[in-house]
Amino acid sequence: MQLVLEKRAERSNTIALVSPLIAIGLTIVTMSILFAILGKNPILALGVYFIDPLTDSYSLQEIAVKATPLVMIGIGLSLCYLANVWNIGAEGQFLIGAVAGSWLAVKTQGTGAGYWVLPAMLVLSAAAGALYALIPAICKVRFGASEILTSLMLVYVADLFLDYMVRGPWRDPAGFNFPTTAEFDPVATVPVLIEGGRLHLGAIIALLVVAAATVLLGRTIKGFEIRVVGAAPRAARFGGFNSNQLILLTFAISGALAGLAGIIEVAGPVGHLQPGISPGYGFTAIIVAFLGRLNPIGILIAGLFLALTFIGGVSRHTVVLRARLRLSHSLSVSSDFPIAKGVPWGCLKRSFFRCSRHRRLCCSRPPANW
């Protein structure tokens, strides 16, 4: 097989726009094949997977809820990837942000603290996420250690740290020994936008982040520097851009956004800190960033699309059950509940919910999503 590759004279805009669509098309083809192998009717399956969630308000809100962390993290990661540095530890920064914000929520619990609590939690989480992301960045610029490996290793550390906090110091005394903090006070909770719904303020914050990133990359010198350092490091050096400083900056921003996403998830849809708060958001966001071609608007669309695949893979009843019953660690049961919609999904769902302590990169949805 001899393929000859030739350089294009210039970037093709058509290809840039079409290639994510090709990727999604290939995904659907792969999924159909997988479904066929599993003995399900692919057309029917794809309908349940992609179309059904779009037909009712609950699922639409749920898509926005799931897309919120994906988009926020994805935007941050895209800055790193544009600068050609590889932060793959967003999952860890997400968890550390969640822990840092929860600290305040736990400390102010029942003290009647005012409305400053939530904003303070958001700031705290962003700062913690940024600091946590700066560890691999500093190791990179100061010692030349591969940021890919260090940032990933810190994911496991963050995961274990969260596990320790909720099993030890912060465990809810009235929580029947479940590894979870007590339910956050209303002032420490991200408010929902529609009364009785699931859509919360985080979705607005995610949209603001998209807008800010668009301005940063398209309209500011810093954004230009980030892109040049990644695309043409030599030119950047001649231009006098400080690439080390840009590495630190992009890592700090992406860490801050991941941390922010972490506390929004905890103080929003989840409502308390517990292990397994993330079904691999930090890792899925890598796919979101690339599927969105590292472009803020593209990332918004890609985030919504991947959120759709999250929802499609899980019946809504099981989601509700999970939220209500706090059974983060024994969820393998829920797939056996007879009310679960989409029974043919049994095997996929089972793997989705089976959480081991060391489940990473996980949420074993059918891999075809990517």
């Binding site: 260090t150 793997s351 949805r365 891999p367």
Partner: protein, 295 residues
């Protein structure tokens, strides 16, 4: 301790050859976990550890071929492809392994030589492990011989250090790299299969728990030399076992902190190694760069 080190050593040996050929395959974790799922499946269906190991090897190789097709055939960015391969592998293993969770198999038998194995202290360590442990050590020796004592090994290193020169001399750079990537995939698949076949006789999703990434770090630690790889892998195995023992002793340190030790150790080692090497890199010069042959 040897058993904890073996998957690291196997995966890192494969990755070392891949990187020596100039390809950075970050998909080790993904190939390992699929190797674990397929290896367990093979052993469970047939009852044979050897079939299981072969299934793991084949699965790892097939995944690495996807990587080779993308990065070598289509000149895609190796870092992004490797990451995607890992994510694909983790999802795929969950799907493959969904039916096996909760099942058990008889783990690979441990060697027993009357007399030798009974020697106090060292007997168990030297003569009482399972076959994979000795296989992994033999593999390192073989790789060392290949890289430094054969012409093919020299050509492979040439392709990794300067692909343009190697190409100009008429060596098929892309084909060499493809074989190196496949070898890396086979080793990672075997390393993954080792976990359910010998280390713990059952399969759980995500059971590789970052070992593929630690293997990648070990390659950096070893300065791309097989000999140092053995030292590194056994040091890491020792840390893993140490934290297990420390948890057993009940020192009053939270178990989560002890579990985090291997990961923290990786970060510290990477920093120290990278820092010590400011004088000049020992990495293959063309590592991670895309090569598109001109006609």
């Amino acid at each position: 301790m040897l058993a904890a080190s073996t998957p690291l050593l196997l995966a890192a040996t494969g990755e070392l050859v891949t990187e020596r050929a100039g390809v950075l395959n970050l998909g080790v974790e993904g190939m390992m976990i699929v190797g674990a799922a397929c290896g367990f499946g093979g052993a469970w269906f047939t009852g044979s550890i050897i079939v299981g190991a072969l299934c793991g090897i084949v699965a790892g190789t097939l995944l690495s071929l996807i990587f080779a097709m993308m990065t070598l055939g289509l000149a895609v960015n190796q870092v992004a492809t490797g990451l995607a391969l890992t994510i694909l592998g983790v999802g795929l293993s969950g799907l493959i392994g969904a039916g096996f969770v909760g099942e058990r198999i008889t783990p690979a038998p441990h060697l027993y030589i009357p007399g030798l194995t009974d020697i106090p202290m060292v007997g168990r360590i030297l003569f009482g492990e399972d076959a994979f442990v000795y296989l992994s050590l033999a593999l390192v020796v073989a790789v060392w011989l290949f890289l430094y004592r054969t012409q093919a090994g020299l050509i492979l290193r040439a392709a990794g250090d300067n692909h343009i020169s190697a190409h100009a001399l008429g060596y098929p750079v892309l084909r060499i790299r493809m074989f190196a990537v496949m070898f890396g995939g086979a080793c990672a698949g075997l390393a993954g299969a080792y976990l359910p076949l010998a280390y713990t006789p059952f399969f759980i999703p995500g059971m590789t728990a970052g070992r593929g990434w630690i293997a990648l770090a070990l390659v950096v630690f070893s300065s791309w030399r097989p000999g140092r790889l053995v030292i590194g892998a056994y040091l890491f195995g020792a840390v893993t076992i140490l934290q297990l023992h420390a948890q057993g002793l009940g020192l009053g340190i939270p178990s989560q902190f002890m579990s985090a030790l291997p990961y923290l150790a990786t970060v510290v080692v990477l920093v120290l190694i990278s820092r010590a090497r400011t004088g000049g890199s020992t990495a293959p010069a063309a590592l991670g760069t895309v090569f598109v042959p001109d006609r």
